[in-house]
Symmetry: C2
Subunit: 414 residues, 2 copies
């Protein structure tokens, strides 16, 4: 086992002003290639705190990935503290300086002395190229432990880790294989899932670990096994998955991090169908779920965010009679929206959401969390209702997952 | 100073399979009421690791908030380890059991033995009610240090912290006042901002701390000061803000966590205007930016996600001639989209985005990152172009912020 620490430096994390996404993405990358992340820590931009943490980590970790504290402004003291910890001075790196100059000139921006100082690094480090930004990465070795310092900006750090740091770490260490296999389920609560597969779980050999990862109406089952013989553990995990999947077949939508929107996208492309979305309560979130991924234009025609009743009627063709008789949050409105968006945008399939997302807007008959979703193709238009939570953003996400699951089921049986 | 630790327990965090948002939201809540968060850690679901961490924390922290490890399934060992650490046994809490039963019956779901075991707690804890879920919170005292264990599900934990934990902590401790004041800027790089206010920054008294928090084309300037005299530090920070704002006036859109979409929403409501959005490359993200907040229906008419050229022409009225002559990513298309969405949805103002988000789709003339945005009201329709990054989701977010900033500028001078 090669133990790794992931460290984030920055007061803004401890004040709760910036969300640390680097620990998440770096952990995934290290884990995927067989390193064992044993701890994440986030600490302040304070010399002594940084030095104390380095001492602690050097005792237990072989790999320490550090993010943050490398910006051009004065609140960043990481580099100086590094030099102090390693007992070295600073030097200005000419390659980095040139890269910063080029970045600035390509963006047509003026370069300041502060920007130039980003090319200063401790003398004992190897510089790691930062393709997307001005702050270089730094690679240090001390007593067999590797320290890598990277900027806090997530896409710079992710790119640097993937393209530069991981390959160097694999050269330096020879990690064992750790394999995770995942079964992705939707539409079933964690506890029901657990009861359903209890017998199988009890029979799992002790060297295979199982975890339940619930997330917004979905539950991922994760099996983990470590070893030197990659093929053997691979096969062993596959056999367990072959046993468990038939027990929960109707909830399983994919494997190994496949997303529900990815599954739906695959089904649409496979069947050569196009999709349009009419959103009221989800307000663009459902469309965004598809369009965040490349290739959405292969099947996604577009969407109508029909926030006002006016737009529901004018663009989607919901009738005034429906709005008056049933209200905007109703089975009838959902049905007309799904059919309307399909016809207006000229797609093969239309889906729709309408509901009381909250926090306000609830009534005794339609409390916050009341949601209708609908599906429409040339043969049928159907709707379903849910009573969700009191939390606005949670309701938006749960509604989106519900409509994706409805779409998956319809497409699977087409 | 009352030092606090925030601890997350769960292998899924270290594997990089779940993003830890609790550390972020809990830090913010603790900081806001004057506790000093000194460290976040994330550790594995392993007895010895948990025990060791508790030992470490008890030495330096007065408050330890722990999230995770309380689900109904077998991978969760937090409660047992707690009992071991405090040297006590377990008991079944009847109030919690009743709450779980009610939750299950209201959702029409079957209750399992595993669910019932969620009512088991160490005998020395005070139970904290979990309004939104089945796993109770637990409050422990040991040698003047408070340990609070909460579930990993973010909205359950946030709600519990806000309504139950913070009030109890304030009763138990008397924290000093810590005040953060923030100036929110958009459309200026961190380094230019720093150069512009360098003199002011150098003159800041040493007990006021300044941080630059850059985020997607926005930079927050945060001033921090701590003390017993709330009014005095409040006034001192206000005076500094009065000095710095005039230096950077055209970039400042708000204060203290105000969002750019919130600022735009306020301007729209103040001027009694309505908004409609036509999105191509942002694919619903811009609409979602408004609709995630309550009250969007006061000004937001709706949106058209015109992903295909067909929808751009059919629904928004972009002409075939424009598409052929200039392409979908062009000034002319952006202008026609903004004007088209305003007219189609009947709003006072229309905005539009079209661009090559990436990763694919670039050409030598229009490489990935080429973006056009447009603004339209009854008097004018204008467009702007940007050359952004190679990163798809970053481009979507940067485009959204650019169009929001354009909207802010237009509305401010209206």
């Amino acid at each position: 086992m090669i133990p790794a620490y992931i460290v984030a430096i920055g007061d803004e994390l401890l004040y709760g002003q910036t969300l640390n996404t680097n620990a998440h993405s770096l952990s995934k990358m290290l884990t995927d290639v067989g390193f064992k992340v044993i701890k994440h820590i986030s600490i302040a931009d304070e010399r002594q705190v940084i030095l104390d943490s380095f001492e602690e980590m050097a005792k237990v970790a072989k790999v320490v990935l550090i993010t943050g504290g490398l910006g051009p402004t004065k609140d960043d003291i990481t580099k100086k503290t590094f030099a102090e910890y390693f007992g070295v001075g600073m030097r200005r790196d000419e390659v980095v300086l040139k890269h910063i100059e080029e970045l600035f000139s390509s963006r047509g921006r003026m370069m300041t002395d502060m920007n130039k100082s980003q090319a200063d690094v401790p003398t004992n480090c190897k510089v790691i190229h930062n393709q997307y930004g001005t702050a270089p990465g730094m690679w240090f070795e001390k007593d067999g432990c590797i320290f890598v310092s990277m900027p806090g900006v997530p896409y710079e750090t992710e790119n640097m880790t993937k393209n530069e740091v991981i390959p160097r770490l694999l050269e330096f260490f020879k990690p064992p294989f750790i394999i995770h296999k995942k079964v992705e389920t939707i539409g079933v609560p964690e506890s029901i899932l657990a009861e359903t597969i209890e017998e199988w779980e009890n029979d799992l050999p002790s060297h295979i670990r199982l975890a339940y990862l619930p997330h917004l109406g979905k539950v991922t089952l994760r099996l983990t096994c470590e070893g030197d013989d990659k093929e053997k553990i691979d096969e062993e995990l596959d056999n367990q998955i072959k046993k468990v999947v038939p027990l929960i077949e109707k909830y399983v939508y994919g494997f190994d991090g496949e997303t529900i929107e990815g599954k739906v996208a695959d089904l649409l492309k496979e069947k050569n169908l196009t999709l349009a979305i009419a959103e009221s309560c989800t307000g663009g979130y459902a469309a965004r779920t598809f369009t965040q991924h490349e290739g959405a234009s292969d099947f996604f025609e577009g969407g109508i965010i029909a926030y006002s009743n006016d737009v529901k009627m004018k663009v989607l063709g919901v009738t005034l009679d429906t709005i008056i008789k049933h209200g905007a949050v109703s089975e009838q409105t959902a049905l007309e929206m799904a059919e309307g968006v399909r016809k207006t945008l000229g797609s093969k399939i239309g889906i729709a959401t309408t509901g009381v997302a909250g926090t306000g807007g609830g009534t005794p008959e339609k409390p916050v969390g009341t949601v209708w979703i609908a599906y429409s193709d040339e043969n049928e238009t159907v709707a379903k209702t849910y009573q969700l939570t009191k939390n606005r953003n949670l309701n938006i996400q749960l509604t989106t997952n519900a409509v994706l699951n409805l779409l998956r089921k319809k497409l699977t049986h087409m």
